[in-house]
């Protein structure tokens, strides 16, 4: 089992003829992803790594019946690529592109929010469901099949955490990077709800960073709606306030968004926060051992909580099925 993507996921690569698009289209295909086509306007009829290229999403979806797209186009064109995918029936859009203007993203989010479409990203590494499919840029070599779900605001830091888990013998169901920007399509709580509903996932690793209050919201969500153990890591303990630490979303402003606040909020609801990515596997093992012996009453309560979680988020449920 997995969330968001699996063996059946049919993927179109938007921007497949670019440097990154072509490289990662091939990498995805090698991993086993069902890459059914690519789109670059003006390059229709050609092939990249044996994958047919189309001129438009309309044509690509009509010919391939794809349900998922992954975007590698430059920032000036990424917004249009998201709209094009959504308007042509794509249900899951993964936008890898970094540098998309936040104002554009607010409009995109508003446009998509009432539609049956899930956007992951932008500025994210994508999704990998172990041994099934990868949509994005995560190196397939670092994952291993197992019981842990991973969700992160970061890219390479996610790989670091996954690699630490894999080296410790703890494999993963699905790993997902939700992106480091201020305005992103899918937040922690969306993914946490999906992991809660995924039978194969027994524990979740959530990797946050400074900026915003998503981790605090996640802490509240976990307390109310999750029965599965969650372990966290927060990047930016040593970051100075007022400076953007690379990611558009990673900035401590007006005294809020600090690592200390986030760690406090997570600890307060019983979520351990690792000091180093290498500490994550140990904490996951501890939490999984503890979770194995729930009291009868607690188990009943958590089943109820899970039922609430599945009903509460319409999108979560739909996307979880796809």
């Amino acid at each position: 089992m997995s969330i968001l993507i699996n063996k059946k996921t049919k993927v179109i690569v938007q921007g497949i003829t670019g440097r990154d698009g072509s490289f990662h289209a091939e990498q995805m295909k090698k991993y086993g992803t069902n890459v059914v086509g690519g789109v670059t306007p003006g390059k229709g009829g050609s092939k990249v790594a044996g994958i047919p290229v189309f001129d438009s999403m309309a044509e690509a979806v009509k010919k391939t019946r794809a349900n998922t797209s992954v975007i590698y186009v430059p920032p000036g064109f990424a917004i249009d690529a998201i709209y094009e995918a959504a308007d042509n029936g794509i249900k899951l859009i993964v936008c890898i592109t970094e540098g998309v203007p936040a104002n554009d993203m607010m409009k995109v989010y508003d446009y998509l929010k009432d539609k049956d479409v899930r956007l992951v990203g932008p500025n994210c590494p994508g999704i990998i469901s172990t041994d099934q499919s990868k949509v994005g840029i995560m190196p397939g070599t670092i994952v291993k099949k197992g019981p842990v779900g991973v969700v992160s605001r970061s890219g390479t830091l996610t790989y670091e955490a996954i690699w630490a888990l894999t080296c410790a013998g703890l494999g993963q169901t699905t790993c997902i990077g939700i992106g480091g920007d201020q305005i992103i399509g899918t937040n922690f709580i969306d993914v946490l709800g999906m992991f809660e509903n995924d039978k194969a996932t027994k524990a979740v690793v959530m990797i946050g960073e400074i900026g915003g209050t998503d981790e605090e919201e996640a802490a509240r969500f976990i307390k109310k709606r999750m029965s599965k153990p969650v372990v966290s890591f927060i990047a930016g303990r040593s970051a100075p306030p007022g400076k953007r630490m690379g990611h558009a979303g990673a900035i401590i402003s007006g005294g809020t968004g600090t690592a200390a606040e986030k760690i406090k909020a997570l600890n307060a609801v019983g979520i351990p926060v690792a000091a180093s990515p290498t500490e994550i596997p140990g904490l996951v093992e501890d939490m999984m051992k503890k979770a194995k012996k729930p009291k009868a009453a607690a188990a009943k309560k958590t089943r109820k909580a899970a039922a609430r979680a599945s009903g509460a988020k319409k999108k979560t449920k739909k996307a979880g099925k796809s």
Binding site: D20, H24, G99, A102, M138, D181, Q182, G212, M245, G246
Partner: protein, 386 residues
């Protein structure tokens, strides 16, 4: 990107938001000339990218031209929170009746622009926000529909009782909202928005921060960047397409990805070291970027060791390795360099790096500890961490 008050006020004027007449000066002579042409009293306002200028003494009232000269002399070159003042804005002084606050930000939670107003404007707005948040009125605006005139009027009515002033303020809020979108701002702020004895509503201060991701389509705004008001190494980094923040430690860090770069810094601190910087070489790194990164880090005299931590995904380790070899040849570094390369094309990278003499490590913790140890090596044995 931050721009100066005088530049933000130019944008305000173009947008039709009333501001007191003003002109910027880089020398005392220019400042005096402007004060003479306006007629005193005037305000002398330091132009630096930091809040709390007034409290730091960087904003002064000058009753006559002589006072304008004295204050310009004092403020030009003044250090405000570590930034040197290179320019002053001379504006006509106005009599203030009331001070309010108007701001628009990108709100992550509602994923929309949020307009904030408060009748308790002025220099203590942060304190107002922290202690009496009920005094700040917020409205999340539908980004597709935009701000409606009635919404602006309702917000303005939180500031004033007089309908003429409500209309003026509503007009200012609407124009400010349009400006927010027009320039791809991440924040626009008027603090204070004042009323004067004639009843007019005026923007006495102006703050506009631009979303860096939106700059590519605003050449005219990008040109407003005042590189002299920034850290030189940060300017060089940006020109080399790197994100870099200078810190005060002695271990230079080169990492791919912002999250991993932060985690690497955190770990340096965790094991008792002190990072000299945050540096993310980004994805799709070409060798040239690595060379620029090394140049920036090695030009910091504090740096005693360099830590390179790459987890390849979209970044290919062989590209980084070629950059390291290039940097070795061109820069001939004298400080120890500790490298860890994992992920995409890792094997190719290792072959390339055989050409140079480096310290290697397999895990993040290992290379961090190694870099801390090596940064201590010149220190007398008693001072070492081993």
């Amino acid at each position: 990107m931050k721009i100066h008050e005088y530049q933000a006020k130019d944008l305000f004027s173009e947008a039709g938001i009333p501001v007191p007449p003003g002109k910027v000066a880089a020398t005392v002579a220019e400042a005096v000339e402007i004060a003479e042409s306006f007629g005193c009293p005037v305000m002398v306002k330091s132009q630096v990218h930091v809040g709390g200028r007034g409290k730091a003494g960087g904003i002064q009232y000058a009753e006559n031209v002589e006072a304008a000269r004295v204050w310009s002399q004092k403020i030009l070159g003044m250090d405000i929170k570590g930034l040197k003042v290179g320019k002053v804005l001379i504006t006509e002084a106005v009599d203030i009746v009331t001070e309010s606050y108007v701001g628009i930000i990108i709100d992550r939670a509602s994923k929309s622009p949020v307009v904030m107003v408060s009748a308790a404007g002025g220099i203590d707005i942060e304190e107002v926000a922290a202690k009496t948040p009920e005094k700040i009125h917020k409205l999340a605006v539908d980004p597709t529909v935009g701000l409606r005139a009635y919404q602006a009027r309702n917000l303005a009515a939180k500031l004033y009782k007089d309908i003429a002033q409500i209309r003026q303020a509503a007009d200012i809020i609407l124009k400010l909202y349009d400006l927010f979108w027009q320039v791809d701002a991440s924040l626009v702020e008027i603090n204070p928005l004042v009323t004067v004895p004639s009843g007019q509503v005026l923007a006495l201060d102006a703050k506009v921060n631009i979303d860096d991701n939106g700059l590519f389509r605003h050449g005219e705004i990008a040109a407003l960047r005042d590189v002299e008001a920034e850290e030189p190494a940060e300017v060089e980094a940006r020109e080399g397409d790197l994100s870099f923040v200078k810190l005060s430690g002695n271990i230079g860090c080169i990492v791919n990805g912002a999250g991993l770069a932060m985690a690497t810094m955190d770990l340096v601190k965790h094991y008792g070291g002190d990072p000299a910087n945050f540096l993310d070489i980004g994805g799709s790194s070409n060798p040239q970027k690595v060379l620029t990164a090394m140049r920036i880090i090695l030009s910091d005299a504090n740096v005693r060791a360099v830590l390179i931590n790459i987890f390849g995904g979209i970044t290919r380790c062989d590209d980084v390795a070629n950059g390291i070899v290039l940097a070795y040849e061109e820069l001939k570094p004298e400080v120890p360099i500790v490298v860890r390369l994992t992920g995409t094309n890792e094997d190719k990278a290792r072959k390339i790096l055989k050409a140079v003499n480096l310290e290697f490590g397999d895990t993040l913790d290992e290379v961090v500890k190694k870099a801390i140890d090596l940064s201590d090596i010149d220190v007398p044995a008693a001072g070492r961490s081993k």
